[in-house]
């Protein structure tokens, strides 16, 4: 997944340093987002209070299901990206593939936000087990990486590998988040609402 042959990337005449700056500034902002979440999660005393949503047994199930749906949308993200980049043999990118990619991404992100807020407010950044520490780190990193992805998306003239690499990072972090939370939750307490 290096050079996207089907996506013509216009290269406007610009200063040589601008390419690096285009990645550096969003990366810096993304790092600040991740750091802010981590520091808030660590400093704010977790309330432990969990507001229940009707129809679910506990907030753990609400979060696990939201995270699972977000992860399914993330799988759609990878699939649609592969089609857009012409990496799926014998499948030509349909006209709606861009829309599918954008909307599945937006939905995945918007579903992840309430889960993250509950984590930050009620549970906090914790390190009492390896799973919990990894989940805390991945959670902060995910929203940082997503910020980077959104900020570099509209930029023109980036090297072709940048978007796939950042996109893959966002996807990997979300799947890691799911495995360290919803997967653990469902396998510990059972799959139901």
């Amino acid at each position: 997944m290096t050079a996207p042959p089907t996506i013509p990337v216009p290269l406007p005449p610009q200063r040589a340093a601008s390419g690096a700056a285009k990645i550096a500034v969003p990366s810096l902002i993304g790092a600040l987002v991740a750091l802010t979440l981590g520091i808030y999660g660590r400093l704010h005393h977790p309330t432990g209070i969990a507001i229940n949503i009707a129809g679910f047994t506990s907030p753990g199930y609400v979060k696990s299901w939201l995270a699972t749906v977000a992860t399914v949308f993330a799988l759609v993200q990878v699939g649609s990206a592969l089609v857009m980049y012409g990496k799926v043999p014998h499948v030509a990118a349909p006209s709606w593939i861009g829309g599918l990619h954008r909307w599945s991404g937006r939905l995945a992100f918007l579903l992840a936000v309430p889960v993250a807020i509950h984590c930050l407010y009620a549970l906090g950044f914790q390190n009492y087990s390896t799973r919990v520490l990894l989940h805390s780190l991945f959670g902060c990193a995910f929203f940082g990486a997503f910020t980077v992805k959104m900020l570099i998306l509209p930029k023109r003239g980036l090297p072709g590998w940048v978007l796939p690499v950042v996109g893959a990072l966002v996807f990997t972090l979300l799947v890691a988040l799911w495995f360290t939370s919803a997967y653990w939750f469902f396998s510990t307490f059972g799959i139901h609402r």
């Binding site: 005393h45 977790p46 309330t47 432990g48 209070i49 969990a50 507001i51 229940n52 047994t57 506990s58 907030p59 753990g60 199930y61 954008r102 991404g105 937006r106 992100f109 918007l110 936000v113 309430p114 993250a116 807020i117 509950h118 930050l120 407010y121 009620a122 549970l123 914790q126 009492y128 087990s129 919990v132 997503f146 910020t147 992805k149 959104m150 900020l151 998306l153 509209p154 939750f185 510990t188 307490f189």
Partner: protein, 234 residues
């Protein structure tokens, strides 16, 4: 015309996060563990007991508060008299939270002050804890559900200490507390309706200290540590 749609996505998510965070900050006021808020307004009888037994403790003089502002400790242990009941006390600066419990029907959450080496805490239904403390141990008396226990307990380190869980299940509140003793023994009780005039407590389900969870029937309780050392739960 090219609109920066990824930025709109990002800002929408950020705005959603801020709204949810504010909603969370506002919501717990009505859903807060009621035993705690009730402890702030003790019954006249228990308030009188506290004042007569330790007049210096309430209100804490400003000078004492400053001197004790950094004092942090967690104590836990069995009460005297060879019974199963245990008590855990956490001190964070001049604030103190305590939990006394016999592992079934007798239990009380207490909140109050720790100043000048003296403890003065009150809870619902006339629960009172008075005593003395230093950096090594806390000793005194605690009354819960009409039974008075004498205690002399020593400081503990995680995972020993005090844990609490609250959950709202279909409109009813569950509130549970656990004291984890230095030998790993858990003494815990669970109130399924702490708002009732005479709440009935039962033995709490086993607490998974590592996972921070306990399972009560179909409900998963997420536990938070009450620790004066770390400030968690204060």
């Amino acid at each position: 015309m090219r609109r920066n749609t990824p930025l709109i996505t990002l800002l929408t998510g950020g705005a959603l996060g801020v709204v949810l965070l504010i909603a969370s900050m506002l919501a717990p006021r009505s859903k807060a563990p009621t035993g705690f808020s009730a402890a702030a307004t003790p019954t006249p009888a228990s308030a009188a007991t506290v004042q007569s037994s330790s007049p210096a403790a309430s209100p804490a003089p400003a000078a004492t508060a400053t001197a004790n502002a950094q004092f942090r400790a967690d104590y836990a242990g069995r009460v005297k008299g060879g019974v199963h009941a245990s008590v855990a006390i956490s001190i964070h600066g001049t604030q103190a939270i305590a939990y006394a419990c016999n592992g079934s029907s007798v239990e009380a959450w207490l909140k109050g002050t720790a100043a000048g080496g003296r403890l003065a805490l009150t809870g619902k239904n006339g629960a009172v804890l008075t005593g003395n403390y230093d950096s090594r141990r806390a000793f005194g008396n605690v009354s819960a559900d009409g039974i008075t226990y004498a205690f002399s307990v020593y400081t503990v380190k995680k995972p020993s200490g005090l844990y609490r869980a609250t959950a709202d299940v279909r409109g009813a509140t569950i509130k549970a507390g656990w004291i984890v003793l230095p030998d790993g023994t858990q003494v815990g009780s669970l109130e399924s309706n702490p708002d009732a005039a005479a709440p009935s407590a039962t033995a709490a389900p086993p607490l998974d200290v590592t996972a921070g969870t306990a399972q009560d029937a179909n409900t998963v309780l997420h536990v938070i540590s009450i620790s004066g050392t770390t400030g968690s739960g204060f």
